[in-house]
């Protein structure tokens, strides 16, 4: 019997030909003075049309900051200090999200890029009915619509994520955690956006519910063809679920590669360590390595490669120079990049 099947749809990879979101050199700080925490440092990342891009890394590595930063949703004292976020709609000119005027930005939000936040309980306003919160989105972006039509659409959305439409007028606290998370997913798809950012959408849920929801996301993506930026620190989940995976450490992307490739052969010692921190449920019981030490303090980053104090394979250049993300010279034929002196960039140093 098979109660589950792999979550990834293989064909999607071929659809993903061109970039829908191109992040270039994004830097995000918390604070503006010398005490500022530099949470995201010079991150470049491309999200292709229709793909699931996984973003992993331990707590505090800047995953959420990156996700909110590109939508300019960081709460104060967050400041975007450099970079561009180019959004290319399927039909039309690419725009830099960071330079949009407030009105245009509002229109862009949710209609083009929606976000499923880390905790659903906190994402839904406890004092408004689910219907109100769903309708709010629709009304904000298609003001002409009649209320009845909006309600119908809201019902449709709930059905789509597997919730009985009669729960439309429930308050968030009357729904279970899984239902709330689904409501959020339904809401994220309300305007059929091109990009859905999901920040640990399932961490608070148990595995059974997690799988149900992920399956739902996969199905919906097949139907609507949006791209997903999927954030979690559960690498085994990502490997199964995403097309490509980027690993963050200390505010930087340290490695980026197709999921299977990364799983089989992680180049960066940190990625490698991460992958070997998870006990596997199946297969032979293998010895787990783990990563020694503790995550870096963003306010007092070690010099050179920020991972070097914990790195079992560090050598001289690591403590001095920051490795640049580029396709490794020893793996030029694979579509991957890494920032590690063990695998100095070949062609990408340009």
């Amino acid at each position: 019997m098979s109660m589950s099947k792999p979550l990834t749809m293989k064909p999607s990879r071929s659809i993903a030909a061109d970039a829908v979101l191109d992040i270039r050199g994004l830097c995000v700080d918390y604070g503006v003075d010398d005490n500022a925490v530099r949470a995201v440092r010079d991150v470049s990342l491309t999200l292709r049309r229709g793909e699931v891009l996984g973003l992993a890394g331990e707590s505090g590595s800047g995953k959420s900051t990156l996700a909110y930063g590109l939508a300019r949703l960081l709460p104060p004292p967050g400041v975007i200090s450099a970079g561009e976020v180019i959004y290319s709609p399927p039909d039309g000119e690419p725009v830099d999200v960071l330079t949009l005027a407030p009105l245009a930005l509002r229109a862009f939000r949710w209609a083009e890029t929606s976000i499923v936040f880390q905790g659903a309980m906190n994402s839904l306003n406890p004092v408004h009915k689910v219907s109100t919160q769903l309708i709010d989105v629709i009304a904000a972006h298609s003001p002409g619509m009649s209320r009845r039509a909006m309600l119908d659409r809201a019902r449709e959305l709930l059905t789509m994520v597997g919730i009985a439409p009669d729960r439309l007028h429930a308050y968030p606290h009357q729904l279970s955690g899984g239902m709330r998370q689904r409501v959020m997913i339904g809401m994220a798809l309300a305007l059929e956006p091109k990009i859905v950012i999901m920040d640990e959408p399932t961490t608070a849920l148990d595995v059974v519910m997690q799988r149900q929801i992920l399956r739902q996301i996969v199905e919906l993506r097949e139907r609507f063809g949006f791209s997903v930026l999927f954030i979690t620190h559960d690498l085994s989940l990502l490997v199964e679920f995403s097309d490509r995976i980027a690993i963050m450490y200390g505010g930087r992307i340290v490695e980026e590669a197709p999921a299977a490739l990364l799983y089989r052969d992680a180049l960066h010692p940190y990625s490698h360590g991460l992958l070997h921190s998870f006990p596997a449920l199946r297969g032979p019981r293998r010895e787990l390595a783990g990563i020694p030490g503790s995550p870096p303090d963003l306010q007092a980053m070690p010099s050179g490669c920020s991972f070097h104090p914990r790195c079992p394979r560090r050598f001289d250049p690591c403590a001095v120079d920051i490795p640049v993300l580029g396709s490794p010279a020893d793996r030029v034929r694979e579509a991957r990049t890494v920032a590690c002196w063990l695998h100095p960039a070949g062609g990408a140093i340009d």
Partner: protein, 326 residues
């Protein structure tokens, strides 16, 4: 529902506690109303009269405190609050009836106004944290630290100095007959203006600060960020998401804070000789008019309880989490 039952039990308990405190406190007073009356009449009353006054006030009977308590409860159940010593032989209820409307109006209107203004300003200041509006905060702190009555004194002297452009005392011109005609109502409003402004100015700061703090807290909540992410208009985000939720603690604090507001208002009445409960109460205390003190205290406590009840209902309406689940 459970919320309601609990609250209801609380109301009953508080009412009972207030009634009981109310009964016992005056009984511990060392003096008695006759000597207080003598005090009021300094020199114009002879020693012999004291005896007849004692008889007059029915203070010559001696009953156990417990019996008195039972009598008191029994009387209360008939709505009988006794006879006011200081306004002998009027029943306390009629004294209350003449004073209560003034206080209710004054406190009611000013509290609502200052709550509304304070909350609105608090929303704006909390939302626009970091803008020049933050400059309001020290001013507000200072204003809310000023005792109500002193602000009242200053208001009186300013008005006096500026040539009485507003009436500085009383509830209406002496000689006017209270009635529902325009002249009287206009006059009453004119008289209420200065006390009302005083109370509003002195109390608006508290609401502002608490609302602002709540706004600051709520603004950092995820659902507000989500509301932004949804591309809602700023107005909708502020009012529908941030302020709506930030209001909840204010509303539940509203009823509770009334107890404090009432105290301040009493002194304002005193300063402005406003013909309300507060003024009556201070006079009743000077005259040792227990029944009136008791009556006033009871009525005020019940009124605060009633306001709490309204605040509870408002809270219930605003926060679905307190409602019974389906």
């Amino acid at each position: 529902m459970r919320f309601f039952l609990r609250r209801f039990a609380f109301y009953v308990f508080t009412a009972w506690a207030a009634i009981t405190i109310n009964f016992f406190i005056p009984r511990l007073i060392p003096g008695d109303p006759v000597s207080a009356l003598v005090a009021g009449m300094r020199g114009q009353i002879t020693s012999d009269q004291i005896q007849s006054l004692t008889v007059l006030f029915g203070l010559d009977k001696h009953e156990s405190v417990w019996m008195q308590y039972v009598d008191y409860l029994e009387q209360l159940s008939h709505g009988d609050l006794g006879i006011s010593f200081g306004n002998f032989p009027l029943p306390v209820t009629s004294v209350l009836a003449s004073a209560l409307p003034w206080t209710l109006l004054l406190i009611g209107v000013t509290t609502i106004i200052s709550f509304a203004i304070g909350t609105l300003l608090g929303i704006v200041v909390g939302w626009r944290r970091g803008s020049w509006l933050d400059g309001l905060l020290p001013v507000t702190t200072f204003l809310s630290s000023i005792p109500y009555f002193w602000l009242g004194l200053i208001a009186v002297s300013v008005v006096t100095y500026a040539g009485y452009f507003l009436p500085i005392s009383g509830g209406y011109d002496p000689g006017l007959v209270p009635s529902w005609n325009l002249e009287f109502i206009g006059n009453a409003i004119e008289h209420g203006l200065l006390p009302a402004i005083t109370i509003v100015v002195a109390s608006v700061g508290g609401w502002l600060l608490s609302m602002r703090n709540m706004m600051v807290t709520v603004t950092a909540e995820d659902y507000v960020t989500v509301a932004h992410a949804k591309g809602l208009s700023e107005r909708r985000v502020v009012m529908g998401y941030a302020a709506r939720n930030a209001l909840l603690p204010s509303v539940s604090g509203f009823g509770m804070a009334l107890g404090l507001v009432v105290g301040g208002t009493f002194l304002v009445e005193y300063v402005f000789s406003y013909p309300g409960i507060g003024l009556q109460m201070l006079q009743a205390i000077a005259r040792h008019d227990y029944p009136l003190i008791q009556g006033i205290f009871l009525v005020v406590t019940l009124a605060v309880l009633a306001a709490n009840f309204l605040a509870d209902i408002a809270y219930l309406a605003l926060d679905p989490r307190t409602r019974k689940e389906g």
